[in-house]
């Protein structure tokens, strides 16, 4: 599974990368929205994790600029980052709150989401 992680916080990116790599997924990292959009087009990832609150370009703005594609899109945010209506209005398929209770579990959760996503398509 090709995973694109768009998050402005380095340690969050790093921890997610390590966790996904443990399960042998291919991980691309972007530190901001603009970079994320470039990588998205370049690699056409299976799953995209995008942080809702980032400087310059927020996660929502990133999703507004994405053309229709088959990627599973998951919005991640701290508990005060976004409201439910914002998430519903966006192109995101799922929402996961930061901090993750257990990152290993989170990875497994995302794998399941992806399987379901593929089945739907």
């Amino acid at each position: 599974m090709k995973i694109l992680i768009i998050d402005d916080d380095e340690i969050v990116r790093l921890s997610l990368k390590r966790a996904f790599e443990m399960f042998s997924h291919q991980v691309f990292l972007a530190a901001c929205g603009e970079e994320g959009l470039v990588l998205w087009r370049e690699h056409n990832p299976d799953t995209v994790l995008v942080d809702a609150l980032m400087p310059h370009m927020t996660g929502f703005e990133v999703l507004d600029n994405v053309h229709a594609n088959s990627s599973l899109i998951i919005l991640i945010s701290a508990f005060t980052g976004a409201t439910e209506s914002d998430i519903h209005a966006s192109k995101a398929h799922h929402f996961i709150a930061k901090p993750f209770e257990n990152i290993i579990e989170t990875v497994k959760q995302i794998e399941t989401m992806y399987e379901n996503h593929c089945r739907k398509i």
């Binding site: 340690i11 966790a19 443990m22 701290a78 508990f79 005060t80 930061k98 901090p99 990152i103 290993i104």
Partner: protein
């Protein structure tokens, strides 16, 4: 209807059992009328006609026609007196207290050829006797002496008559002198009496005494106005003064006047009483007119006297005009002054701020009730009666001299935890040496408190915002730390010892994240959500557990006992808001402990009343009974500056009540203070 006596007619109903002995004068013919409607009608027939050129025959004929036959003797007597010197007098009698509008009658009579008078029915006797006395002295005829004696005595008679005429001149002179002396003595006595009088009652009583000698002058009536509109009428009746007032425009005479014609008719209407002759004695009110330019006063005396008595009584009144004026003037001014200061004092008393007039030596000359916090019979010093101090208040501007009538910049004085802004004006009357100060004190205690609280709230809110940002900033790195620690722990290449350490890292990060989460909830300002939307079902225990981590540092040096037993009982409230209450109560408990103390927090269930209770108790200084009622008042605080705003408990109580709860306090000074919060629970998880 008509009864006759010699030279007298009684027209109407009269009780004549005693009056028949009426001693008739030779040159006056009296007709007494009972003042009834037929009598009024009788006279009103001349309203349009020329009453003055009325012939005696016509008058007699009409009288006979209306009221009954008159004997030939009286008719001829009447005609004789009428033609000789017109000494026919009409006397109208009326009952006391009756309202008689007789202006018209008086007007008609004034035009006519007759003398007339009005008297009350019960005055008839006095009237008759006053008229009769005049006629008592009928000269006695001496018998003629024999002829021969005449010659003998003629020379002696000459001498005697000379002597007598001289001595009678001297006697006359002495009498005149005595009279003048007497009248002047009376005047001096009057001046002395008037100088001592205090009010209009006294003045009227003195006047009554003065006029006693003239029994044909009635009780004087004093009329005065200050504004030219409200006119006061004052008269003694028996020993009581009757005063009434009317809004009326009057023609105030300039000088001593005997009211006649239309003038008299006007007065009769104003006074609403039948009056035949009025004497108007105006008073000059020079002093009063300085303050009340329209002030006027007038003494009205009803005059029943005959023509030859009038000169005497009028002179008597004129002699007294000036001294009476001065006395009345003084009384009116004094009274107005008293009224004036009374009203001013009331105005000051109604001010909500303390005010005082103070001299340069801190003596209070005048003040309102609000100023007299500590009335003291010994001391009139402002700092004593106002602040209960023995020295001037700290910050008193007495040393700073303001310019005349100007105020200095507001000064602040403080005592007894109260703070006042003092505005001060210098008062110095033109030509007066004494300098006084007018002090106004504005209580700014609450003003200060509100200001302090606003600062504090501002600080709190920026602190809340700051911690919100801080929490958010910490959230990301801690998320990474925790996640990385988890990833590493999952790795197979890591030794058990390192795994254990990584687990510690994970736990620490998790705890930090938990604190941050709580902190963000706690400081989360209301984000547009209404209170009702934010209501949750939660146990009090849970709320306490969420709050305690924030107080760990504050609680560190004290012993804390927590005993929560109501986890299964849920109440409806907004936890973030209610946490503030718990936070406040524990914070308060900590602040009440000066050294190491004990704080107990416990919860209990009252199943019978379906209530849960949360109690917070400390063994600190306690609350004295006199303060316990004020403990929930806004801005009430006994804490040192900077420690509290005096709002914590007040807001806490409001919060608890918002969620249908009840908050109370109990304290034993030096032993414990216990706050109790009660809520109805909505259900049990049990």
């Amino acid at each position: 209807m008509l009864i006759e006596g010699q030279n007298v007619l009684w027209v109407g109903k009269f009780d004549l059992t005693k009056k028949n002995s009426f001693l008739v004068s030779n040159n006056t013919f009296y007709i007494f009328f009972d003042l009834t409607d037929p009598v009024k009608d009788f006279f009103s027939q001349w309203a349009d006609k020329d009453f003055k050129s009325l012939t005696s025959n016509l008058f007699l004929n009409q009288l006979e026609k209306q009221f009954g036959e008159i004997s030939a003797a009286n008719k001829s007597n009447f005609l004789k007196t009428f033609t000789q010197d017109s000494s026919v007098e009409l006397v109208f009698t009326y009952s006391k207290g009756k309202n008689l509008l007789l202006g018209d009658l008086v007007f008609i009579l004034n035009k006519g050829p007759f003398k007339f008078n009005f008297i009350e029915k019960d005055e008839i006797n006095d009237y008759i006797s006053s008229r009769s006395q005049k006629n008592i002295s009928t000269p006695e005829k001496m018998s003629e002496p024999p002829e021969d004696l005449k010659a003998l005595s003629s020379s002696r008679d000459d001498l005697e008559s000379q002597f007598q005429s001289q001595s009678s001149d001297i006697k006359k002179f002495v009498d005149e002198q005595n009279m003048r002396l007497n009248s002047e003595r009376r005047l001096v006595k009057l001046i002395k009496d008037l100088a001592e009088l205090n009010d209009i009652d006294d003045l009227l009583l003195i006047l009554r005494k003065e006029l006693k000698g003239f029994n044909y002058l009635r009780e004087p009536l004093l009329i005065y106005t200050l504004d030219g509109e409200s006119v006061f009428f004052s008269q003694m009746r028996n020993s009581e003064r009757h005063e009434w007032y009317q809004n009326i425009k009057l023609d105030w005479p300039e000088k001593f006047t005997v009211a006649k014609g239309a003038d008299l008719a006007n007065w009769v209407n104003v006074l609403n009483r039948p009056i035949s002759k009025l004497v108007l004695l105006p008073f000059s009110l020079d002093l009063s007119q300085r303050f009340f330019p329209k002030a006027k006063a007038l003494l009205i005396v009803e005059d029943l006297s005959l023509a030859d008595q009038q000169a005497l009584s009028h002179q008597f009144l004129l002699d007294r005009q000036q001294i009476l004026s001065m006395s009345l003037d003084r009384i009116l001014i004094e009274y107005q002054l008293t009224l004036f200061s009374y009203r001013w004092e009331k105005v000051f008393d109604h001010l909500k701020d303390p005010v005082a007039v103070i001299d340069a030596n801190y003596n209070v000359l005048r003040s309102n009730q609000k100023f007299l916090n500590h009335p003291d019979m010994q001391s009139f010093k402002c700092y004593k009666v106002f602040a209960n101090r023995d020295t001037p208040c700290v910050g008193c501007p007495m040393e700073i001299e303001p310019a005349v009538d100007a105020s200095v910049n507001p000064e602040r004085i403080e005592f007894n935890n109260k703070s006042y802004r003092l505005l001060r004006n210098r008062i110095q009357a033109p030509g007066d040496q004494q300098v006084l100060y007018f002090h106004r004190y504005y209580d700014e205690t609450q003003h200060d408190q509100i200001l302090k609280t606003l600062f504090q709230l501002e600080k709190m809110s920026s602190l809340g915002e700051l911690s919100g940002h801080l929490a958010h900033e910490l959230n990301n790195p801690l998320t990474g730390v925790m996640a990385l620690a988890q990833v590493l722990q999952a790795s197979k290449e890591i030794s058990p010892q390192i795994k254990k350490d990584l687990n510690e890292i994970e736990t620490g990060a998790r705890r930090s994240l938990g604190i941050i989460k709580n902190l963000m909830n706690f400081t989360k300002a209301d984000q547009g959500e209404s209170l009702i939307e934010s209501l949750e079902s939660i146990s009090l225990d849970e709320c306490v557990e969420r709050t305690l981590p924030f107080l760990k540092t504050a609680l560190r040096q004290h012993r804390l006992f927590v005993d929560l037993k109501t986890k299964e009982y849920l109440v409806r409230l907004v936890p973030q808001i209610f946490q503030q209450v718990i936070f406040n109560l524990i914070q308060n408990a900590v602040q009440a402990l000066s050294e190491q103390g004990t704080i107990k927090i416990w919860s209990e269930v009252d199943e019978k009343n379906q209530r849960v209770k949360l109690l917070v108790e400390d063994n600190g200084v306690g609350i004295p009974p006199e303060n316990i009622n004020r403990i929930f008042d806004a801005f009430y605080t006994t804490k040192k500056e900077g420690q509290g705003t005096g709002l914590g408990l007040s807001i806490s109580k409001q919060i608890v009540e918002t969620f249908a709860g009840y908050m109370s306090v109990e304290s034993k000074p030096g032993v414990f203070t216990r706050f109790k919060i009660e809520f109805p629970y909505e259900g049990s998880l049990k």
